[in-house]
């Protein structure tokens, strides 16, 4: 007993060091693998004001560019209105529009990072506004990520710049598809994998979402091909320059696929057979 006590006194700093490190690792395991919504809302209460003030200010500085982008987007949408199409049937009422599959909810980014290995984005809309986990998130320039956790007023998004996120993607010109992986280095570069060697790729080809997983609509821009190389003799490894600038993300759109559940259900029942 006496020697145990002497041991404890002698090595008290090493023991304290080990104990503290173990506590720290427990904290990492507890909080970082899945983002605890509680921590988020607590932090938002404390830091919310400072962050949103900072946000407001930096948004103000970008107002001109943001306006330009919105104007362009407005004109594009204007062109898509059914009323603006030539209609062979004389009355507008008789145009048959299919059932609406995708719904869009606008939101503003209030927190974002690009310098970690697992980046997340926080937006100012939540459950109250109809946002649920696993919805896709896009912006005017291309894809952003997928919703991870939601609270009443906020949601966190797994950024495309996250090493655990692998969205489906395809080459727009010929439809060959693979998946996107971020290598954890540059915030504006990703890699498209599993494109077979017989696929024809050109530098400058457009890469878009494939729409297979039902998270994103088909044809949302991801980026353009920078270069490509054969990997292990089976597949191409295609380096893609992202079209979305994650450093100055501000307005995003959350995509709600109203038929996703149905798609998942039929896919699941097929797999179980």
């Amino acid at each position: 007993m006496k020697s145990l006590l002497r041991f404890l006194i002698r090595y008290h700093s090493t023991i304290l060091f080990l104990v503290l490190e173990i506590i720290a690792f427990i904290l990492i395991a507890r909080f970082n693998s899945f983002h605890n919504a509680k921590i988020y809302s607590a932090k938002n209460r404390v830091l919310g004001n400072i962050t949103s003030m900072y946000r407001d200010f930096s948004q103000y500085l970008r107002l001109i560019d943001e306006n330009k982008a919105l104007r362009k987007e407005n004109i594009r949408l204007y062109n898509l209105l059914p009323a603006n199409y030539y209609n062979p049937v004389s009355h507008y009422d008789t145009v048959i529009l299919g059932e609406k599959k995708y719904e869009f909810i606008g939101a503003v980014v209030i927190n974002n990072s690009t310098n970690k290995q697992y980046n997340y984005i926080t937006i100012n809309k939540g459950r109250k506004h109809g946002i649920e986990p696993e919805m896709g998130v896009i912006c005017n320039d291309g894809i952003v990520g997928v919703v991870k956790e939601t609270t009443e007023n906020f949601s966190t998004i797994v950024s495309l710049l996250n090493r655990d996120f692998f969205p489906n993607a395809m080459i727009k010109r010929n439809g060959f598809f693979g998946y996107i992986e971020w290598l954890g280095r540059r915030y504006n570069k990703v890699v498209l994998k599993e494109i077979p060697l017989h696929a024809e790729i050109l530098i400058g080809d457009t890469i878009t979402t494939s729409g297979y997983s039902g998270i994103f609509p088909e044809g949302i821009l991801i980026g353009v091909v920078e270069k490509f190389e054969a990997e292990q003799g089976i597949f191409y490894k295609v380096y893609v320059n992202l079209s979305t600038n994650f450093k100055r993300l501000s307005n995003v759109v959350v995509v709600n696929n109203r038929m996703r559940e149905e798609q998942l259900k039929v896919e699941q029942s097929t797999e179980h057979d």
């Binding site: 503290l20 720290a24 904290l27 990492i28 970082n32 400072i50």
Partner: protein, 168 residues
């Protein structure tokens, strides 16, 4: 001793604020981040007992973690750094030890001493931090590259701060 305590509390708050509000937003070419808040550990008095160093390291790391949403990661790194500090101090100690009433600063022990002392501890801190963040070994050299570049940046910021902000 009475003057030391409030000064360190203010320094703690100021460094955490500076790190969270300013330096966390500085990124050079996408992945080089300066972590200057470790200066708090570097400037603690020589007489600080190891257990207190460790507790302060844990507290400092945790405060940074809470604001940058990386619970535990900075904590692991700062605790390791605090644990190493006494060893580094004894390795670099001058021939007749550290005089009482002095602090580990450029103004007492010179630029060369401070640079060696700061560089070793900062590199140790960054190594632990970046490898804990990525938590796998297959990008070993890419991570090492990040460690080296970020450490160079942090060291230069901290050494410069000794001449401009923390002169006394």
């Amino acid at each position: 001793m009475i003057k030391v305590l409030p000064r360190n509390i203010i320094r703690f708050i100021a460094l955490v604020m500076a790190q969270v509000l300013v330096f966390n937003n500085i990124e050079i070419s996408g992945f080089i981040n300066p972590y200057i808040y470790v200066l708090f550990i570097l400037l603690l008095p020589f007489e600080t007992p190891t257990w207190m160093l460790l507790m302060l390291g844990a507290l400092l790391g945790l405060s940074i973690d809470i604001f940058s949403e990386t619970i535990g990661m900075h904590m692991v790194a700062t605790i390791a750094m605090a644990f190493l500090r006494p060893f580094v101090l004894s390795v670099f100690s001058p021939r007749d030890g550290y005089e009482t009433g002095t602090f580990p600063r450029v103004s007492y022990y010179g630029l060369q001493w401070f640079f060696k002392y700061a560089a070793v501890l900062i590199i140790a801190h960054h190594l632990v931090l970046f490898y804990t963040e990525i938590f796998r070994l297959h990008d070993f050299f890419a991570t090492f590259f990040r460690v080296v570049l970020s450490a160079m940046f942090s060291i230069s910021m901290i050494v410069l701060s000794q001449y401009f902000i923390f002169r006394k």
